[in-house]
C-alpha cells in the first residue's frame, strides 16, 4: 500500500459522481459539474450528527409502544422489547430471536460499529484497518434489514382489521424506530471509509 502514491500527494482528486480524475484545485468536476472534494466534506461531523440523532431517537423507539393490538375488545399496546418477551414466553423463540436481531441487535451493532469507526478515524488510528473496512461494508449491508420491524408493523396493521374481533394499529414508537434506521443509514453513508486509511503516511 505504501508503494502506490496517494491522490493527495499527486494533487489529484476523483469525481464522486463520474469518477473523473481532476486537479485538486478544481471545485467542480469539469465533466459532470459535481462538486469535487478529496474526502467527503465534514464526513466525521455529519456521521456523528446522524449517529447521535439516531441514538437519541432510539430511546423513544424502544420506550414507546410500536403497535397496538386489540383482540375481542381487549386492547394492548406493546413496545419492541415487550413483543420479544411475549413471543419468547409463548414459546415462539425463533420469532422472538428474529425480532430481537432485527430490532435490537442490528441497530445496537450499528451504533457500536459506527462509533468505533468514527473514533478510530478521528484518531487516525492504524489499528485493524482491514477489519474496520470490513465492518463498514458489513453495516452498510445490514442497514436495510433493520427496516424489517417497520415493514412487519405496516403489514400487520394493514392486514389485521377485523373491527371488533381484532385490530392492530401502529403507534408512535415505530416512527421513531424508522427514523433511527434511516438516520443510521445516513450516518453510515456520511462516513467516508477512506478516512480509515488516512494517516497511513506515517
Amino acid at each position: 500500500m505504501t508503494t502506490a502514491p496517494r491522490a493527495r500527494e499527486l494533487g489529484l482528486t476523483g469525481c464522486h459522481t463520474c469518477g473523473l480524475v481532476c486537479a485538486i484545485e478544481h471545485a467542480q468536476c469539469p465533466r459532470c459539474g459535481s462538486h469535487l472534494h478529496p474526502r467527503k466534506p465534514d464526513s466525521l461531523a455529519r456521521s456523528w450528527a446522524f449517529l447521535i440523532a439516531a441514538l437519541i431517537l432510539y430511546i423513544p423507539s424502544n420506550v414507546l409502544p410500536v403497535m397496538y393490538t386489540s383482540m375481542l375488545g381487549r386492547g394492548e399496546a406493546s413496545t419492541i422489547l415487550h413483543g420479544v418477551v411475549e413471543f419468547w414466553k409463548s414459546g415462539s423463540w425463533d420469532i422472538a430471536l428474529l425480532i430481537f436481531i432485527a430490532s435490537v441487535a442490528v441497530p445496537s451493532t450499528k451504533f457500536l460499529v459506527l462509533a468505533t469507526l468514527l473514533v478510530s478515524a478521528r484518531r487516525q488510528s492504524s489499528w485493524a484497518r482491514l477489519q474496520r473496512a470490513r465492518l463498514y461494508r458489513f453495516i452498510e449491508l445490514i442497514g436495510y434489514w433493520s427496516m424489517l420491524d417497520v415493514v412487519v408493523v405496516a403489514l400487520v396493521c394493514a392486514l389485521v382489521q377485523f373491527h371488533l374481533l381484532g385490530t392492530a394499529e401502529p403507534r408512535a414508537g415505530i416512527v421513531f424506530f424508522g427514523l433511527v434506521v434511516v438516520l443510521t443509514m445516513f450516518a453510515a453513508m456520511s462516513f467516508d471509509p477512506r478516512l480509515i486509511w488516512d494517516g497511513d503516511e506515517e
Binding site: E25, A27, P41, A45, A54, I56, R74
Partner: protein
C-alpha cells in the same frame, strides 16, 4: 495537469463552495439537535401530562390487571391502573392509578370510583360490554376542588353520574322496603329517575333515601308532590271488588318509588334541588291529608287484647284517627289484676273540621297535654269511651274504637294525669263472648247422657217392632193384596162391554123405554077420555080401528 485543467472561472466557486460548506457543516448538527428536541419535548410532554397518582381500595381486584385496566369516565380513558397490591391487613386491595393530566379533577374529594363488570340484577343487566373487553374502573367527579389521593371504591356503580340533567331529592322513609340503589322512580308509570343512594339516620330511626329525577321530568316534582313506595303488588278488596295495582312488572320484583301531586288545587311551585319529602308506604297514605303532630293518650283495658297489635287502627265513627303505638302489661296491686296499658297516638288533623272547631272551643294553653285533657274531659262526661272491637271476625283483629256510649257508667276523669288516660269500656265482642259463655254453660247443663240412653232403648224397641212387622204382618198383608187383586180381576170382567151383565142391562133398559112410551100413550088417552076410567073404553069407529088395537093391546 493542473495547468491544463485550470480555468479562470474555476477560482470563485471553491471559495463559495467552501463558505457554503462551513455553513452546512454547522447545519448538520441541527439533525441531532432536532432529535434531542423531540426527545426533550416528549419527556416534557410526558412529565406535563403526568396526572396525579391516586390509590383506590376495593374489596376485590376481580377483573383488574396492572398496566392494562383503564379508568374511564363517560367511556373516555382518563387513567391506567399502575399496580395492584393487597392492603396491609389483607382485607382489601389497593389499586394504584395513574390519572392523565387533564383528569386531575378526578383526584378530588367527591370523586367516586367503581369497577365496571358485567352485572345481572333485578333492576337490569349492565356492563355487558366488559364481558369481552374485561373490567374497567368507572369514575365520576363532583364539584369539589379539594385534592384527595386515596379513595374507597364503590362496590356497585352509582345510579347517578354527576352532571346529569335533573334534580336530586331527599326522601325520609321509615324503612327501605325492597328498594335498592338503582330502583326506578315512576311518574304516571313512566320511569323518570332512579334511587341514587340511601343511608340510615344517625340514631337509626329513619332512612334517608336520595333519588334522582331526570330532566325534563323533574319539573313534575312540586312542593306538594307525594312520594310513595310502589314496590310489590297492591291488592285491594273493597265494596267495588278486587283490585290489583302495580306500577310495572319490574317494581313487583325490584321495587320502585312513584310520585304524583295529589288532585285538587295545590301549590305548584317547583321543588328545589335537594328538597325533602316523605316516602309513604302506599298511595293511600301518600294522598291522605298530612297528619300533623300526634297527641299521645293511654287506655287501660281489663280484658285480653289478643288480636290488637302495635299499629292497629284507632277509629272514630269510621274515620281512622290514630294508631296503637304500645301495648304493655301492668299489675294492679289493689285489684290483683293485670290490666293492659295501650298507648295510642291521635292525629288531631284527621278530625278535619271537627278538630278545628273543637280546638277553638278549648282554652289555649302552653301545655299540649293540658289542652288535650281539657278537650276530652267534657266528652268523657258525655260518654266518650274507648273500646277494643273486632275488626275482622276471621282473623280476630282488634281495633280501638272511640265512641260515645251515653249509658256508659260514669267514671272519674283525671285531667292532671300524664299521659292523658281515656276511660275504656268492654268491647262489643267481649259482651258477645260473655253471652256465648252463658249459652255454652246452658248447653252444658242439658243431660245429654240420659237422653242418649233413653234414645238408645227406644231405638231398640222400635227395632223389635219393626222385626215383628217384617216377620208376621207383612206375609199376611201380601196374601190380602193377592186376594184383592183377584177381586179386582172379577170386577173388571163383570163390567167389560161383552159381559152378559152388560147385555142384559141393555135389554132391560130397552124394555123400560118401551114401557115408558106405553104409559105416556095411556096418560094421553086418559087426558082425552077421562070417563074411560069409569066406563071403560068405548068402541072405536071403524076407520080408527088400528090405533085402538094398539091402545087395547097396551092396556092389559
Amino acid at each position: 495537469m493542473s495547468d491544463e485543467d485550470s480555468t479562470p472561472p474555476a477560482t470563485p466557486p471553491p471559495v463559495s463552495v467552501t463558505r457554503r460548506r462551513r455553513w452546512s457543516a454547522g447545519l448538520i448538527w441541527l439533525v441531532p439537535a432536532v432529535a434531542a428536541l423531540i426527545g426533550i419535548g416528549m419527556v416534557i410532554h410526558n412529565w406535563a401530562s403526568e396526572g396525579p397518582v391516586i390509590e383506590i381500595s376495593f374489596i376485590t381486584a376481580e377483573g383488574l390487571e396492572a398496566g392494562k385496566t383503564q379508568v374511564k369516565y363517560k367511556e373516555v380513558v382518563i387513567g391506567l391502573v399502575d399496580s395492584i397490591r393487597l392492603a396491609g391487613d389483607n382485607t382489601h386491595v389497593v389499586v394504584r392509578v395513574n390519572l392523565s393530566k387533564d383528569a386531575a379533577g378526578f383526584a378530588t374529594a367527591d370523586a367516586r370510583y367503581w369497577v365496571v363488570r358485567p352485572r345481572f340484577g333485578t333492576s337490569g343487566v349492565s356492563g355487558i360490554g366488559t364481558l369481552l373487553s374485561g373490567a374497567y374502573i368507572g369514575a365520576d367527579n363532583g364539584e369539589s376542588h379539594e385534592v384527595k389521593k386515596r379513595f374507597v371504591g364503590l362496590e356497585r356503580p352509582p345510579a347517578v353520574i354527576h352532571g346529569s340533567p335533573g334534580k336530586r331529592f331527599s326522601l325520609a322513609a321509615s324503612d327501605i322496603g325492597s328498594l335498592d340503589v338503582g330502583s326506578p322512580v315512576y311518574y304516571r308509570r313512566i320511569q323518570v329517575g332512579r334511587l341514587a343512594s340511601y343511608e340510615l339516620d344517625k340514631d337509626g330511626r329513619q332512612m334517608h333515601v336520595d333519588i334522582f329525577v331526570d330532566a325534563p321530568y323533574d319539573r313534575f316534582v312540586t312542593v306538594s308532590s307525594r312520594f310513595w313506595n310502589a314496590s310489590g303488588v297492591d291488592l285491594n278488596l273493597d265494596a267495588s271488588g278486587l283490585k290489583l295495582n302495580t306500577q310495572s312488572l319490574a317494581t313487583v320484583v325490584a321495587g320502585g318509588i312513584a310520585f304524583q301531586t295529589p288532585p285538587g288545587p295545590r301549590d305548584a311551585t317547583l321543588a328545589a334541588e335537594g328538597a325533602q319529602f316523605t316516602l309513604f308506604d302506599d298511595i293511600q297514605t301518600a294522598f291522605a291529608p298530612p297528619d300533623g303532630e300526634p297527641d299521645y293518650m293511654q287506655m287501660r283495658f281489663e280484658q285480653s287484647l289478643r288480636g290488637l297489635s302495635v299499629g292497629s287502627q284507632v277509629d272514630f265513627r269510621g274515620i281512622i284517627v290514630g294508631k296503637v303505638v304500645s301495648i304493655q302489661l301492668d299489675y294492679d296491686v289493689d285489684k290483683q289484676g293485670f290490666p293492659l296499658i295501650v298507648g295510642v297516638v291521635i292525629y288531631p288533623q284527621r278530625f278535619g273540621r271537627a278538630g278545628e272547631k273543637i280546638a277553638q272551643l278549648a282554652p289555649m294553653g302552653n301545655d299540649e297535654n293540658m289542652r288535650l285533657a281539657h278537650l276530652i274531659e267534657p266528652m268523657v262526661a258525655r260518654g266518650l269511651r274507648a273500646q277494643a272491637r273486632t275488626g275482622n271476625l276471621l282473623t280476630g283483629q282488634l281495633y280501638i274504637a272511640l265512641d260515645f256510649l251515653p249509658n256508659a257508667p260514669k267514671v272519674a276523669f283525671d285531667p292532671a294525669a300524664r299521659p292523658v288516660e281515656l276511660p275504656t269500656t268492654p268491647g262489643s265482642f267481649d259482651r258477645l263472648q260473655e253471652q256465648m259463655t252463658g249459652l255454652v254453660n246452658k248447653i252444658d247443663r242439658i243431660p245429654l247422657e240420659a237422653i242418649g240412653k233413653r234414645l238408645d232403648s227406644t231405638i231398640a224397641q222400635l227395632d223389635k217392632i219393626l222385626r215383628q212387622v217384617n216377620e208376621a204382618t207383612l206375609p199376611q198383608f201380601n196374601a190380602t193384596l193377592a186376594g184383592a187383586q183377584g177381586t179386582f180381576g172379577s170386577a173388571q170382567k163383570a163390567i167389560a162391554t161383552d159381559a152378559p151383565l152388560q147385555q142384559n142391562l141393555a135389554q132391560t133398559l130397552a124394555e123400560m123405554q118401551r114401557a115408558a112410551r106405553s104409559l105416556r100413550v095411556l096418560t094421553d088417552y086418559l087426558g082425552i077420555h077421562p070417563e074411560s076410567l069409569l066406563r071403560g073404553k068405548p068402541a072405536d069407529p071403524a076407520p080408527r080401528a088400528a090405533p085402538e088395537q094398539d091402545v087395547k093391546g097396551n092396556k092389559p
